[in-house]
Symmetry: D2
């Protein structure tokens, strides 16, 4: 959950999402999208629309546990355009300064799996490194803050330095990556320190091109999920959440089965009319 500024306990923000994705389809292909704003947690979708050109039968369903939404469709040869528009209201609560570390025994059952290594977050392989780097700190928030600082200070943000298959281990070794890699490494270090963590993707404003979806991470502290962004590229209170998941595979904005290629993307977000620009 985005964190409100220190001087107020709750703020509300409304944002407008305007996301366009274009594909060239060279043969029958199936698509699985996650581009709908999350309905739930601290978010309320005021209104939304989805346009698919050409019009195609499709299906939207929600994850039974976390409520993020999937869009499935099948397309034949030709161009394909998706446009998703939404107005989303967020209620941002201030995070207490030092939420408590939650001992394993006190973690909720459904959070336990967020301690486990996943495809892109090999916390089993980076356990000793995490211990060497962060075990001298008090468990919980001091460690997560040190993780965010370490990633920010020791990793180069470099577009093109990583690929779809790049994992936290790879990023840690090459000391470079993009937002997704920074978030994966944050998740990985947290899990290695017995702090449940997960990846979060959403819409976020960037000062720098190119527009893209944003990936950050959440750690479970003080019996709640708290957002962190090791890239420090976009204010967390402006993020419109799409989904949370184990890692990027769980929350990819698009998974393609078949000979299709994305030709352009523009996942834009702005303050809703009447809102301050931040």
């Amino acid at each position: 959950m985005p964190n409100a500024p220190a001087d107020c306990d709750v703020i509300e923000k409304t944002s407008t999402v305007d996301c366009t994705l274009n594909y060239r389809v060279d043969g029958p292909s199936d698509f699985l999208f996650q581009i709908h704003a999350l309905e739930g947690m601290d978010q309320k979708v005021i209104r939304e629309s989805l346009d698919i050109v050409p019009p195609l039968p499709h299906r939207v369903y929600a994850d039974p546990t976390l409520n993020h939404r999937f869009l499935r469709l099948h397309a034949d040869v030709g161009d394909l355009t998706l446009r998703y528009h939404a107005v989303v209201q967020r209620r941002i609560e201030r995070v207490e300064a030092m939420p408590a570390f939650v001992p394993i025994a006190e973690l909720p059952d459904q959070v336990m799996h967020n301690l486990m290594p996943t495809r892109y977050c090999e916390s089993d392989l980076l356990g000793r490194a995490a211990y060497k780097l962060f075990s001298h700190l008090a468990p919980g928030m001091p460690q997560v803050q040190a993780i965010v600082d370490w990633i920010h200070d020791n990793m180069d943000y470099q577009i093109g330095s990583s690929q779809n298959t790049t994992t936290a281990r790879d990023a840690y070794l090459q000391r470079a990556g993009v937002c997704r890699d920074f978030a994966h490494l944050g998740v990985t270090f947290c899990r290695a320190l017995n702090i449940p963590a997960r990846l979060v993707v959403g819409y976020a404003p960037f000062n720098e091109p190119p527009p893209d979806f944003h990936a950050v991470f959440e750690a479970y502290l003080g019996q709640r999920w708290i957002l962190f962004d090791a890239t420090r590229m976009s204010p967390l209170d402006q993020l419109v959440r799409i989904a949370s998941g184990r890692d990027a595979k769980d929350v990819a904005f698009a998974t393609l089965f078949g000979p299709a290629t994305m030709t352009s993307m523009a996942p834009l977000i702005s303050p809703a009319a009447g809102e301050p620009a931040s």
Copy 2:
């Protein structure tokens, strides 16, 4: 689901599970076990008991989707023994000879994630290898059968050749592993060919020591999950299922947090009294 012999459509079997796990605990530790027989699918737990020595507060809960059960407990310094006993009845349906490949567009929503790569099943990395090895075959059952044959013929079953962190890619490279690695590789090749697949663990009789939990895999064909065992070490119709999951991390029989060590294990299974020995 275990597959009945060819000459009958349904058979019923009753098995007795007698599982003992011993640990030495050198400091406060948390445990997450998955040792309960699955209640559901083709299985019915007739009766069961769990003894924990010394007696400790614990908690058993079921996965909301797949219904397998977890056991959580916290232990302090000392020895710890778990004994799980169960009588389980299974209803084994014969698998039709050639269940149909299910096109992506016709897969149930909740099965889609079983197409994705996971920590130990990097189907994104082995995609081209799977294609080279199996794409000349008709999609679906012929491919899965060829996968099972390939693994059986090209991998050495060798205790000690793999570790906790060994993945399908590692096993494929080193051409050796144990049941868990064989199953991971089966899962991985299936997913790479757009066939949903998952890991299954359970109790199974072995002719050869040492007794251990068994890992096999399931592929989604003909709109159902069908069991396969590339090790061919134990008849599938004698498997008592504990859990299904994305890979070994989802269904580990024990996950330890803290300075504890397993000193011995004996996950035994036998035909229930009055049942034929096979």
Copy 3:
């Protein structure tokens, strides 16, 4: 050594090499080149010239064992152009149809290290795979021919599929690569089967753009080095050899230390005037 056609024991060929390399140097940089045609083995350099623009102090020295030549120079900010021109005569002996496998005990001392794994040829990791794929064949030539066939049939030649750091293991896993990767995999399989092998780079004519240096491999059979090209992209009898080495690191055409970037390359080769075009 390139292999003469079956109907004659020795042929002679003369080729003209015309190699141009262009760099942009953004700060003081050191260069280590290997672009000189080999003087020795089956090659004789009739004449050659090297132009460096701007003219810079430089140094050419030969490897004491294998005789390939290195060029070292230091450049400051600005553009840098190298042009190497040579006329090279090769004497190509026919390889006997089935040169004998050389048992380890009969290998010359100086060849022993060509059995060892190297940075890009991890024969220690691919040992069991090599054994599974090729151990049913008679040792020596039948195995090497099967290796070449396997690589040609099971690997995709795909420009852009590999990088500087790609190893034989990586290429084997991803089932794709370029000539260097094909040659590394050939070397790796040979070494895993106790056949000494090494990488060879040189100038070769291609029908397809872009012009590039070529990498092939040599196996030690019948007490001599015999050339193989798993890409089958260029006739071996037209290769002008630059160097042999343990793997690509030993024989890189250019190694850069400093902020310099190659802007273009044209390592061309053609039959010398008066020679038939193939």
Copy 4:
């Protein structure tokens, strides 16, 4: 070269090496040993003897460049014992406090290859990590000293944590290893910082069992090779050198081809009679 204490410029030491290796040979096998004390650099072999039981034809030859010696032999089924005995005199010169970094342009030709990545020293993969960790220091000795400190402080020396195939990258990731891994990581970081480095193996006294060969590394500074030991387990001035090489593959004390197994080893070293015990 081992480094003399600060208060004298040259000291001489004499050591006695007594190395026994036992093998069980289950089928015809070839062996390549490197157990002879180096004759050259700062060492002089006063006398030596080699006993092979049963007596077998064998062959000792020296590397043409670095002069370390190889022993080759072929053995048939049965037990095999090697005993190598030597008295070695070393002349240990004091290393100047701050030997100068040697710019690439001033490196001797024959040292250039010690800048390249090798099988177990992937300096190409750890380049950015080396830069992040050590580039703020003055080039040369300050960096190498910081590398030794970093390895000593951040890696766990743990017997059994690594295998034959473990590389510097693996050791860096898992933050654990043995002397060979510590030395490989030192070599790797040096090369990544454009400091030539190589692995050195030899006989060294340890306070702790089990007796084993020792691996340390050399960096090229002040136009000479200087020894470093990141394990700090044995005084460098007591090391009797066997060989230097690119990495462990170049200088393995034994490489086996065939079904043979080492049953025990005892590479002992002690001060020669009349020498002080340290």
